[in-house]
Each structure stands twice: as structure tokens, then as C-alpha cells.
């Protein structure tokens, strides 16, 4: 019998970066097929191809043995492919019924909404959800909203159901409930694809699992016949030897984060009593799958957002979690954010200005009346040389013209110019090639040698493992485990991919 959904040799790049490198995938009707991998492995991208959102550069898609071409999400729907995304596509102020009606249009509103309500109630009772079709989406919990997405897709007649990281937003109990329902759907004949990074879910509920790493498909197994270790190793890769370094001397605590909480605008709690401390001359790495509060933690540390409660205590300064700008500046925290052009650089302004901005207020570059442009240029030229920023024809050129690696070096040049005591680095080598990556790592280690306390938040487990003296694993907004160097990769991998 032909597979319900078959993807062969899919290639896809975005702006020159290869996201899918000849990946393949095959799932059958009546089974729950898990797609397992770390962040950036390509799982969501592959399924977005199947759902018609991305057009692949190469490769083929077949449904029940028949090759098809998908021109968009509507075409995918016609082929009975339904995808529940990580970021729900729901209109918040509308009711459940209105959202389902929008996605499954009927000729008339009044009769349409009645039909849809009936269809919803039928699905809801079969799936044993408890959704009131007349409730507004913005009054519902995330778990309930997800149920709405599933119902929406099933009312539309989906026979191939793709769920993208469905349990990422759920509590353990909710997750179990959802996966049991999903299993039942599969038994009734639907082909279910479960995109996930959670090993436990795979072992408990999946009939078969395809593992992806680096845009490629690396294995296809029966999870019930494989051990957790085997699966983990395939997912996160081999342990490699760690570079030598001087052992950590143990200095005074420079940064103490205590019970930090933060609730996002849409109500979701992203930081839930995050607590950790970092000592002088130490690199504290925070590992974890993205979406567990790392971004919010980084933003709170650098001052982009204000936490709801808790403290960020700095040696010699005090609690800066809700401090004024002046106090923060005094604290001289070096910030290397993940998104360079959002928080660290003004792309349309010259390199020299981007370097100088942190020290303008101190008067280093002239008074209020007249800036000392010569000094700005001079310092910029020195910094460019010292930090080996390539591609700079003149320090007056726009910062956006620099390549990723050089832009990052620029950020580091500026942030380190004041010899900071505390460094917050969030995904510092994202998007960088090997050489640039090495340069960034070298800078961080040098800062460590000088006695700075460094917080390194990264989704790249290799980076965290090779640089950190201590590692904290972040999951669901809290640090759930700490490991000392040399850390056991498998243990960390399990804590990362497995929590819950």
C-alpha cells in the first residue's frame, strides 16, 4: 500500500542558508509518525513544505503514491493535508465557530455558523475535547486554542494531520491527554505526523520515528525497539573532545538571578522563577530548546524588558531588574543579543557611530555642543583592527554592509570596550561561519580570563559544552538542572529533549 504522505529529496534554502538538504519522509495512514530532531534540524521546514507554505527548491511530494504539486496552503487543504502550527493561525477576538467558519467557508453566515457549530460539536465529542463553539479565542488557554486548531483542520476534512511541536505549550497532563487523542485519531485511519523534540512523547505514543539533523534525514526507526540513549545520540550527535583550558578559579558571585518571572503580553508566562548565579571568571552556559524562555531571559538581563518579579542582582550595584537607565549604564553589562540588528546595531548608521554610541554620554567623544568626530573615527579604526573586523573599507560605511560574523565582531568590540564585569551573550555564533565562530569564542574566553562573569545562552549544544564552566538547562522558564564541566552530553541532551 502506498504511503499516505511521501517526501523525497527535499532541498530548500532561505537567503543562501540551506535549511533542508535532501531530506526524505514517509508516513502511513493509521500510524503516529514522529519527526524528531533539535532546533534547526529542519523538521518544521520539512512539514511546511508538505503543508504548501514553502515551495521546495528540489524534491517531490506524493500522496498515496500520486505525485502532487502544492501551490499554496489552500491546495494542501484540498489534498486533505492539515497542519497545526506552533504559532496558531487564529483570529483572537473571534469565537471558535467563527474561526472554523473562516477556514471552512459556507455560502451563508447564519446557516453556515449553525452547520459549523454542529460539525464542531461532533468532532469535539469524538475527540473528547471540551470546547464551547461560542467562546472567544482570547478567553481560552493555549491548550484549548490548540484544540481549536485541530478541530478546525479536522472539520475541513484532513486525512493527513501534521502537528508542529504540539506539546511545547502544554503542561504534562495536557500533553498526555492530547497525545492519547492523537493516537486514537491515527487508529481511526488518519496519518498523523508529530513534529517534536521530546523523547518521552516519541517513546510513549509514536509508532515510528524519523530523526533529522542538520537538514538531513539520519534515521528511521521503531521507537519501541530502540533505547532512549540510541535515540538521543542520533538526535544530538556524538560527544567530541573539549578544548583545554585553565580550570575555573572560583571567584566572588558577580551576577545573581533570583526567582525571575515574566509574563508576555499575550498572557503566556515565559519565565517562571528562573534562578542561577555566575561567579567572576566563569562562563555559565544556558542550554535548552528555544522557546523555553531563553529569549526573555536575555532581554531581561540586557534591559529590553522588565520582569514581573524577581531580581537581577549585580555585585557592587544591586538589583537592576527594574532600575533606571542611569543605573543600568553604571552597571556596564556587555550585551551580545541574538538578533544583531534589533538590539545591538543600527544598520543604517556608520560603523564608527555604532561603536561610539555607548560612550557618548561619558564625554569621551566631546561635549554636548560639538562631537569629537576625529576621536570617534580613531577609536573605531583601532577597534576594527583589534577585533579583526573584515570588510571595512571605511569606518564611515553603514553597519548593515558587514557580513554576519564581522557585524558580531563589531558588537563585541563595542561591548567589550569598557571592560565589563558581566557579559550576556545570546546565541553569539548564530549564522556565523566556523572562523567567525572561533573568533567570538576566543573573545568570550579572553573575557573569562580577565575575570568577567559570562552568561552564555545558546541553542547550539556544542557551543555551550565547549565554552561553559557550568551549564544550566532551561525548560519552561526555569533552570531545571545544573552540570559542572566536563559535562555529560547525553545527560544534558536528555534534560533538554526530555523534560516533561
Amino acid at each position: 500500500m502506498a504511503s499516505a504522505l511521501q517526501l523525497v529529496g527535499i532541498r530548500k534554502s532561505f537567503d543562501g542558508a540551506l535549511a533542508l538538504d535532501g531530506a526524505s519522509f514517509e508516513s502511513q495512514a493509521g500510524e503516529v509518525h514522529a519527526l524528531l530532531g533539535e532546533n534547526g534540524a529542519g523538521k518544521s521546514s520539512l512539514m511546511n513544505v508538505a503543508a504548501g507554505l514553502y515551495a521546495p527548491d528540489a524534491g517531490s511530494i506524493s500522496i498515496h503514491g500520486v505525485p502532487i504539486a502544492l501551490s499554496g496552503p489552500a491546495a494542501a487543504r484540498q489534498h486533505r493535508i492539515g497542519m497545526v502550527h506552533q504559532h496558531f493561525k487564529l483570529v483572537k477576538p473571534f469565537t471558535v465557530a467563527e474561526n472554523v467558519l473562516l477556514a471552512n467557508p459556507q455560502p451563508h453566515f447564519a446557516s453556515g455558523i449553525r452547520n459549523i457549530r454542529a460539525a464542531i460539536e461532533k468532532q469535539v465529542s469524538e475527540l473528547k475535547f471540551s470546547i464551547d463553539p461560542n467562546r472567544r479565542i482570547d478567553t481560552m488557554t493555549v491548550a484549548e486554542q490548540q484544540q481549536v486548531e485541530i478541530v478546525k483542520v479536522l472539520v475541513g476534512g484532513a486525512r493527513i494531520l501534521i502537528l508542529d511541536e504540539p506539546t511545547a505549550v502544554l503542561t504534562d497532563a495536557e500533553a498526555t491527554g492530547l497525545l492519547e487523542i492523537v493516537q486514537r485519531l491515527a487508529r481511526a485511519g488518519t496519518a498523523v505526523v508529530l513534529v517534536t523534540h521530546k523523547l518521552q512523547d516519541v517513546k510513549r505514543f509514536a509508532d515510528s520515528v524519523t530523526i533529522m539533523r542538520g537538514g538531513k534525514t539520519v534515521a528511521k526507526l521503531d521507537p519501541r525497539q530502540s533505547s532512549a540513549e540510541e535515540l538521543t545520540e542520533l538526535t544530538v550527535g556524538q560527544t567530541s573532545a573539549l578544548p583545554e583550558r585553565t580550570p575555573h578559579q572560583g571567584g566572588p558571585t558577580r551576577l545573581n538571578v533570583g526567582a525571575l518571572t515574566y509574563t508576555r503580553g499575550d498572557g503566556r508566562v515565559m519565565l517562571k522563577n528562573t534562578s542561577f548565579h555566575v561567579r567572576a571568571g566563569e562562563i555559565y552556559g544556558i542550554a535548552g530548546v528555544s522557546g523555553n524562555g531563553q529569549a526573555e531571559l536575555a532581554e531581561a538581563l540586557i534591559g529590553a524588558i522588565e520582569p514581573s518579579s524577581g531580581e537581577i542582582w549585580l555585585d557592587g550595584i544591586g538589583d537592576i531588574s527594574r532600575a533606571s537607565q542611569a543605573k543600568r549604564r553604571e552597571a556596564a553589562i556587555a550585551a551580545i543579543p541574538a538578533d544583531r540588528y534589533t538590539y545591538a546595531l543600527a544598520g543604517s548608521l556608520p560603523i564608527s557611530d555604532n561603536l561610539a554610541v555607548a560612550q557618548i554620554r561619558s564625554g569621551r567623544y566631546g561635549g554636548v555642543i560639538k562631537l569629537d568626530r576625529a576621536a570617534i573615527r580613531q577609536d573605531a579604526a583601532t577597534a576594527v583592527k583589534d577585533y579583526d573586523v573584515q570588510g571595512v573599507r571605511s569606518v564611515g560605511q553603514k553597519a548593515s554592509l558587514l557580513s554576519g560574523g564581522n557585524a558580531q565582531k563589531l558588537v563585541i568590540a563595542r561591548e567589550f570596550s569598557r571592560n565589563p564585569n558581566v557579559v550576556v551573550a545570546h546565541s553569539p555564533s548564530r549564522g556565523l561561519d566556523v572562523r567567525a565562530c572561533a573568533a567570538v569564542h576566543q573573545r568570550l574566553i579572553a573575557a573569562r580570563e580577565r575575570g568577567a562573569a559570562i552568561v552564555l545562552i545558546s541553542e547550539d549544544l556544542d557551543e555551550v559544552l565547549s565554552l561553559s564552566d557550568r551549564i544550566g538547562v532551561m525548560s519552561r522558564g526555569a533552570i531545571v538542572g545544573e552540570f559542572e564541566r566536563p559535562a555529560d552530553r547525553q545527560a544534558i541532551g536528555r534534560a533538554m529533549v526530555d523534560h516533561g
Partner: protein, 340 residues
Amino acid sequence: MRQDLSPWKQAAFVGASLIFGLAISIAILAAAGIPPLTLASELAGVLTAENLRGVLVQAAPLILVGLGASLAFRIGFWNLGIEGQMIFGGIFAAAISIYDVGPQATRLLLMGSAAALGGALWVLLVVFLKNRFRVNEIIATLLLNYVAMYFLFHLLYGAWQDAKTAFPQSSPLRPFERLRDIGFGINSGLLIAIAGVLAAGWLIHLSRIGFYTRFISANPRMAKIVGVPVQTATVWIIAASGACCGLAGFVNVASQEGRLTQSYANGYVFSGVLIAFLSRNDPIVIAVVGFLIAVLFITGQTLQVFYQIPFTMVQMIEAIIVMAVASSEFLIRHRIRWLR
């Protein structure tokens, strides 16, 4: 990753769109009964030596208003209260005259300062409302234009009305309170405008606050994190914007009119928007565009006097130009995608 079209090609697009916009304006005017040849001859007439003086006098307030608008827009504040700020600038300056404040020698300086203060206060009112009550400044500044206008009428028909004439205007300013010509037909009002251009140049290129402004404009989130005093800088810049508009009002009252009148602020809101929009906040370009709009204004006034064409035609042409140039940006962006 991001390929900018070369500056020359971009300028070509903008230039082409300008010509397109002007062509449409001429077409509309022709349809309204003004043959293009008449238009051309009037325009030529404006550019003669004797009419040039009038253009330069008209250029002064336009340049000031363009500076004021561009200061505010750069920092993300839609200051559309240009006319209201001009009105209060004129009122504050006239108050100095009416209440005979200060010695002769410094009278003009006092009036100018008062005008700047008046304009700044009128816009800072909106800044306060925006910060405290999240009032939308687009609507608030526009509505306050009407309030300012009626306040002006209230004064001109009431307490400040010139007893000698029956018209809604104040008593004439004393000779030492006038902005006079300083030779070559150039009015000292233009000097104020040039001083404004220089000050704007200093602000943008040399001063510390100009440095801050560029970061606030380019990336406000980063500016805050990196230690730029966003709040303070923003308030000062907007105040400066209001002050420029206030000065424009003073220039109009003290040079041409010679007294406080009803209509010295008419037509400046969109002119300010246009000048700021076209000049991308470069003070020199503002001066040039201001001069060109002054030509447009004088032409419009001539057409009004001799052909009974309402002065609002000028605003129509300004609007067409802005729409045409704004549309060209879309084409520039789109071309980049096709070229890839």
C-alpha cells in the same frame, strides 16, 4: 543580503516621479481651464529679478516650517500642528509689541524668542497629552490648529483689534519691530531661515543630541539599551520643531504683514510635510525645496489675483507630488526583487 539600488538610480526614479506628478498637476489645471502656456508664462514671470524678492521673502517661513516638520518626523512624532504653532509664534511675538516689552535694541530678539517659545509650548502640550494619556498626536495637533485659529480670531476681533481700522488685524508693529530688507532685496527673515538651516546642520552633524536622534530614529530599541536618553532627547527635539514653526509665524508677521493678521499661517501644514518628506531631513535640501515651494506659492498667489484660481490649488499640487514620490519608493523596492 540587502542590495540598495545605487543612489543615482534612486534619484532617477524620484526625479521621474516628480515630473510625473507635475504633469498630472498641469493636466488637472488645464482641465480646470488654465492652459499650460499661461502657467508657463506666469512661472517665468515669477522667476524675474523683481519678483525674486517676493519669492525669497516667501521662502523664509517655508524653510523654517520644513526644518520644524523634519525634526519631529525624524524622531517619529507626527507634528501636524505647524499652523497652530505658527499662530502662537505670531501671537507671542505680537504680545511683546502690544505690551511694549523691553528696550528697542533688543526688541526683535525678544519677539523672536517669544515666538519660538510660543510654538514650542503649543507642541509640548501635545507631547504631554501623548505621554500621559496616549492621545494620538496626528489628530491632536490637527485639532489644535483649529483651536489656535479661533483664538487668533478672538484676539483680532476683540482685545487686539486695531481701533483705527475695522479689520481683524492688530495695530501695526513699530518700525524697529519689523524685519527689514538688508540690501539686494533680501529680507532679514531669510537670514533667520538661513540661521535655522545652519542650526539644523549643527544639530544633525555636530551636536550630541543629533547623534542621539540618529540612533533613536534608526533603532529605538537598541538606543534605549545602549544608554541613549531617549525620552529627554525626544522632548527637546520636538520642542525645537515647535520653535521653528513659531519662528516661521514671527517671520511672516514681522516681515511682510507688519502686524498680526488672520491668514499668515494658511497653507503651511502640508507644505511642511512635503518639504520634510522630499528632503529626507537634509537641511540644505530643505532650503532648496523650500525655495521651490516658495516659487509655487508665489505662482499660486499670482494665479489667484489674476485668474481667480483659489490658493488651495497649491495644496493640491503639493499632495500630488507627495503621492507620486511616495509611489516611486514602491517601484524602487520592487525593482530590487526582480533584479535578484
